[in-house]
Amino acid sequence: MPDPAASRILLEFDDVVKSFGGVVAVDHLSAHVRQGSVHGLIGPNGAGKTTMINLITGLFHPDSGTISFDGKHLEAMAPHQIAALGISRTYQNVRLFSGMTALEQVMTGCYLQRGVSLWASFLGTGNARRQWAKTRDHAMSLLKRVGMADRADELAETLSYGEQRRVEIARALGSDPKLLLLDEPTAGMNTQEASSVGRLVHELRDSGLTILLVEHNMGLVTEFCSSCTVINFGRLLAEGDPRTCIANPQVQEAYFGRQNDAERIQALR
């Protein structure tokens, strides 16, 4: 396994500013994510983490600054173009499509990998049918990978919250991304479920994926991330090794006020 710390930079924020009606959400932020890493993005509530994810995926466009991915500038691109470059994501509060089964959700995630034109798919040509079956099998294997294969034909909204998160991750994997953005994938999960997500993250990294993980659970961050970025009020607080970052007094202050209480950090595990 190549050393992530030495690998090339896959995603880079350079002096990015984004404000909403006078409120600055991301304030001259520069940061980067290296290829093959599991990179943690942490900060208190309202720090601008989700805004960053939305900027990367093109749902928001920065007021100034540049965001580059694999050498390409993202800031003027539409979300679907960015997705086509190989960036995929999940959402803080699960956003699955109502009325679709788990398998259909993941199939939809495979849209970019469908291999045939819409027209051929409509006509149902032999090739289109073969590709469809192939994609379907692939979607099933993704569901298996997140441990949801036996629930494939169930309506996603009838699944439990944790199960929905897994389906959402499988859907995000459908486009065969290079960079996966996970926005608080363990929110609302118990410790057991959370660490199984952590294991999944490692498996994915081992298969060559770069992962940007927005996470509140410090335990998970220190356990699974190889590097991290800490932000508050849209500004960079610390960067680098997770343990070092958390020990940073500024970070401590942002999270806990003036107290330096290691036990409370422990309590967050």
């Binding site: 995926t57 093109g58 749902l59 539409a78 979300p79 679907h80 960015i82 997705a83 086509a84 995929s88 994501r89 959402y91 956003r95 499509f97 109502s98 009325g99 679709m100 089964t101 259909e104 199939m107 939809t108 995630g109 849209y111 970019l112 469908r114 045939v116 819409l118 798919s121 409509f122 006509l123 149902g124 289109a128 469809w132 169930e154 309506l155 009838t158 859907r171 995000a172 459908g174 486009s175």
Partner: protein, 294 residues
């Protein structure tokens, strides 16, 4: 068999109008299934209808060819409309489409060369109901294929959550553009079918009445499944006939009340795949629970 012939003689025309309304409902469904509420089907129907009537009248082309022209005309009109409208947010688009319907009537009143104006337009040919039925079957089959293709999957995603769909690489505006063109083609065909059935067109023919029929049909039948609009169109067309048979004095009121009850008790329409799946899931859970208990 006799009963069937009797039925056809009495209600054949109702069935034909139901089929025509099914085209309009499907046309509305085409855009609705990508999350766009648009009344422009009326406009596409007018384009298709007047185009078909005029080409048959002046160029003496066959009825089949004129159906093709109506489909193309409707599709082209839809492409133009889509380019202008797809910049707008959903609510505004609904309103803009309504404005376009109103303008269509003013235009058809004031462009007698194209539409016959206030005097109306006599359509010399009549379409065979069987041909309408075949055409509807073909169009419905096309919607079935669409539903089960990548486009169908993408359109459902765009409808449920366009932002999420776009981050999965599905371009919402492009899917909606395609939806508009489909809507235009089907609306144009429906307009031509209406022209060749009524055989007399006036500016009133393609107006608010169609807009309400098609939206009500699509939503009543169920706008989450390709077969919903067809069912809705048949129910909505048959409703006045039934009401006339049972409560002739207050048939309009009864029609409104029926519509209201359906909306209150089945807001997602008569054909709702989600409800079916939810019921199936509930049944399954029930069975499992019983198995566990036993």
């Amino acid at each position: 068999m006799d009963a069937l012939l009797d039925f056809w003689a009495a209600y054949g025309s109702t069935v034909v109008f139901a089929m025509i309304n099914a085209f309009f409902a499907l046309s509305t469904y085409a855009v609705l299934s990508t999350g766009v509420l648009s009344f422009t089907t009326v406009v596409f129907a007018a384009v298709g209808g007047f185009l078909a009537a005029q080409t048959v009248g002046h160029l003496q082309i066959s009825i089949h060819l004129s159906f093709l022209l109506a489909a193309i005309g409707g599709g082209l009109a839809a492409a133009v409309v889509a380019v202008a409208f797809l910049k707008l947010d959903s609510h505004w688009m609904a309103l803009a489409s309504l404005a376009l319907v109103l303008i269509t009537r003013v235009v058809s009143l004031n462009a007698p060369i194209l539409t016959g104006g206030v005097n109306g337009l006599v359509v010399p040919l009549r379409v065979d109901p069987i041909e309408v039925a075949i055409l509807l079957a073909v169009v419905t089959f096309a919607f079935y294929r669409l539903h089960n293709s990548w486009y169908g999957l993408a359109s459902r995603a765009v409808r449920e959550d366009p932002a999420v769909a776009s981050t999965m690489g599905i371009p919402p505006r492009r899917i909606q553009f395609v939806a508009f063109v489909i809507s235009g083609v089907v609306g144009g065909i429906g307009g031509a079918a209406l022209a060749f059935t009524l055989q007399f067109l006036s500016p009133e023919t393609y107006f608010i009445g169609i807009a309400f029929t098609m939206i009500a049909s699509a939503v009543l039948g169920g706008s989450f499944h390709w077969f919903g609009p067809v069912v809705g169109a048949f129910v909505f067309t048959a409703l006045p006939v039934m009401m006339q048979a049972f409560v002739p004095q207050i048939e309009d009121v009864a029609k409104g009340v029926a519509l209201l009850l359906i909306m209150i008790f089945m807001p997602r329409g008569l054909i709702d795949p989600r409800a079916v799946r939810l019921r199936r899931a509930a049944r399954l859970r029930h069975k499992q629970e019983r198995a566990v208990n036993a």
